[in-house]
């Protein structure tokens, strides 16, 4: 099996980004979680390993290259998840539903749930659809009920 870090390094190179510590660290963290990761959380986990500004820039670069995608939760906080294959600098294909749990506040990418096509008024040209469901995730609905 291919080494994870190795995969990340290739991913960076493929996108013309240098293989630096903060970038690899961000990829490690994001890949180790089952839900999207908030900017504040990343900041906290990275601690003094990287400057706050660097984190902003890493995330921005990754998003531009299509390595990660941003999801805003109901509070407007940015959350990031690694894109599935098929995203690129010019096109994001993250049109799956996101689920924002009211209890644990995690954001899940429901890759299996596609957003249904939509009929909009004449004149409007839909480019992307962004659907966020809120409620209780599988974990929390167990615990709460």
């Amino acid at each position: 099996m291919e080494n994870k870090t190795e995969r990340f390094e290739k991913l960076l190179v493929k996108n013309g980004l240098k293989r630096t510590a903060p970038r690899l660290q961000v990829l490690e963290i994001l890949s180790g979680r089952d839900s999207a990761t908030s900017q504040p959380y990343l900041e906290q986990v990275m601690g003094k390993d990287a400057d706050r500004v660097t984190l902003y820039r890493v995330l921005q670069a990754f998003e531009e290259k299509g390595i990660i995608h941003k999801v805003l939760d109901q509070q407007g906080t940015a959350n990031y998840a690694i894109c599935s294959d098929g995203c690129s600098a010019h096109e994001h294909h993250d049109e799956h539903v996101h689920f924002n749990c009211d209890n644990c506040h995690k954001i899940y990418c429901l890759d299996s749930v596609k957003i249904p096509a939509l009929k909009v008024p004449t004149g409007f040209k839909v480019e992307h659809l962004n659907l966020i469901a809120t409620g209780l995730c599988a974990n929390c609905s167990d615990k709460v009920n």
Copy 2:
């Protein structure tokens, strides 16, 4: 025909809010626009008529009472629109699609477009759905093409 300001005053009273200048002004501005209005825009338009803090509080009060609803655009900026009838302090019924124009950045409430029901993985309990479409609005797709 009933006077607009009069209607707003009733709306405030009905919700136990006092009929103050900043509140009426916010309602005037919001009602005079065909799309949701961003917090920064409101701040700018109100200028020195009301303090920034007052605006925050007015918007917060209105949202709590179900007079307006908040929509976050793709940048995470708060935008506000007057609720259609049927919203109250305890329940918002703004589950229509919002359209965020990439060109003019306006946010339209597509009241006529309902969000289709969704099939989510076992365990997830959906409470609310929030669908934002991006692309070109009717105005801009005219001009651009």
